[in-house]
Amino acid sequence: MNIDSIQNGVVIDHIKAGQGMKLYHLLKLDETELSVAIIRNVTSGKMGKKDIIKIDADIPLNLDIVAYVDPGATVNIIRSGELVEKRQMELPEILTDVLYCKNPRCITSTEQELHHVFKLEDREKKVYRCLYCETKAGG
């Protein structure tokens, strides 16, 4: 793929260096047949180093995942070779099926059909809690 010539697609830019692969997997891009370029450790004036993901198709992405992994990332929508939209990310108030509750006592541990929903508790410290049992994400 010529990464400079996306006609219709999505470019996720300004990803903190090292987070590109994580985002690639969380967005389940590894499960698609799409042309995807992950560019790692690109020199950046502002960030020093950054990662970039270019997707050669205008597909719907779960932007909550992008915002959670790196709220500093930007999502650029390209149509007919033109940048039509540039979205800044911010931590979402609610995350659905992005994080999974690890509390064995949580109702989500036995009821498989339930969505795993987390609420933002502390924006500065990036703390999320399970909507059901209030267990801290990753705790």
């Binding site: 109702i107 059901y132 267990t135």
Partner: protein, 308 residues
């Protein structure tokens, strides 16, 4: 409008006062409420063993003139066949006007509430919340102290898994001038999220100690709790910690004469029976108060749902 109570914080302080006023009126004028819930049905869904909470809800509904249908263990319900909490809630909504549910999994009551078309009262979801116990605690504190402010509240025992402790802390931090003394073994301290979410958030003074007797003289309320075997994954840990605190008459030597001793019950051996006759023992009054507050809550939620 249908509304459920999952957490004590689902009720504002004004609503707590309203429930207490209703409970006091029920106590003073029981006949006035004897047919308040005629032809209404309470479904008690208890997927975890319980004696007092289930009986309290059922007695509450009977005293309001209503009826009760009941599931008293997971094994005797379609949960044993693998039915989800969501489906159970939708199904029971077709039979009853209000649900009281206890479930071993945390968040189960929330799932039921979001799927039921009738009000759901959380009667305990694992180690998470138990709001109606807190209502019992609050009415007891009110009847003993006639105030919710300026109290030194000692919480003793299992402060980690004790859901009643967390709910009581959350409820009492909303009033001015209270301070907490958290008495527990190191392993069973109040979780940091409870401290951060209420005590620290509202700048409420608290101390943590392992020494019950040293804390005793300053307490207005002593809330004892049981070390809960069912919350431990490891039997050895339970056995090591289960007798950490046993309240005996001897330990009350330096207590205030108007101390109120509360316990959500059941007790195992953390309060000696010798204390039962002490006028400061309030735990059986608490049981009765629980029934009155459940009556008040059932009435409120049924009225709000347009079912009365």
């Amino acid at each position: 409008m249908k509304r459920s109570v999952i957490d004590i914080l689902d009720l504002s302080t004004a609503e707590l006062e309203e429930l207490i006023a209703t409970a006091e009126d029920i106590i003073a004028n029981p006949d006035k409420y004897a047919h308040a819930c005629d032809r209404r049905i309470l479904a008690t869904l208890f997927f975890e063993p319980s004696t007092r909470t289930r009986m309290s809800f059922e007695a509450a509904m009977y005293e309001l003139g209503g009826h009760v249908i009941s599931v008293s263990s997971a094994g005797s319900s379609s949960a044993a066949k693998g039915e989800s909490v969501a489906d159970t809630a939708k199904t029971v909504s077709c039979y009853a006007d209000i649900i009281a549910m206890r479930h071993p999994k945390e968040g189960a009551a929330y799932v039921a509430a979001t799927n039921a078309s009738i009000p759901v009262i959380n009667a305990g979801d694992g180690g998470h919340c138990h709001p109606t116990q807190t209502l019992a605690d609050l009415l007891t504190i009110w009847r003993e102290k006639r105030r919710f402010e300026g109290l030194t509240i000692g919480l003793c025992g299992d402060l980690k898994f004790g859901r009643t402790v967390h709910s009581l802390i959350n409820a009492m931090t909303r009033y001015n001038g209270n301070r907490f003394v958290l008495i527990s073994p190191e392993e069973l301290k109040v979780p940091s999220y409870v401290k951060r979410g209420s005590l620290k958030k509202y700048n409420i003074p608290y101390t943590q100690t392992t020494d019950l007797e040293a804390a005793m003289p300053e307490l207005d309320i002593l809330y004892m709790t049981r070390i809960q075997r069912e919350r431990f994954f490891n039997e050895e840990d339970y056995l090591r910690l289960k007798d950490s605190y046993i309240l005996t008459p001897d330990k009350l030597r330096n207590a205030k004469p108007d101390l109120s001793i509360l316990h959500p019950l059941p007790r195992v051996n953390e309060i000696s029976v010798a204390i039962d006759d002490d006028p400061r023992a309030c735990y059986f009054k608490q049981v009765l108060n629980g029934k009155y507050m459940r009556m008040a809550l059932i009435l409120k939620l049924l009225k709000e749902a347009g079912r009365l």
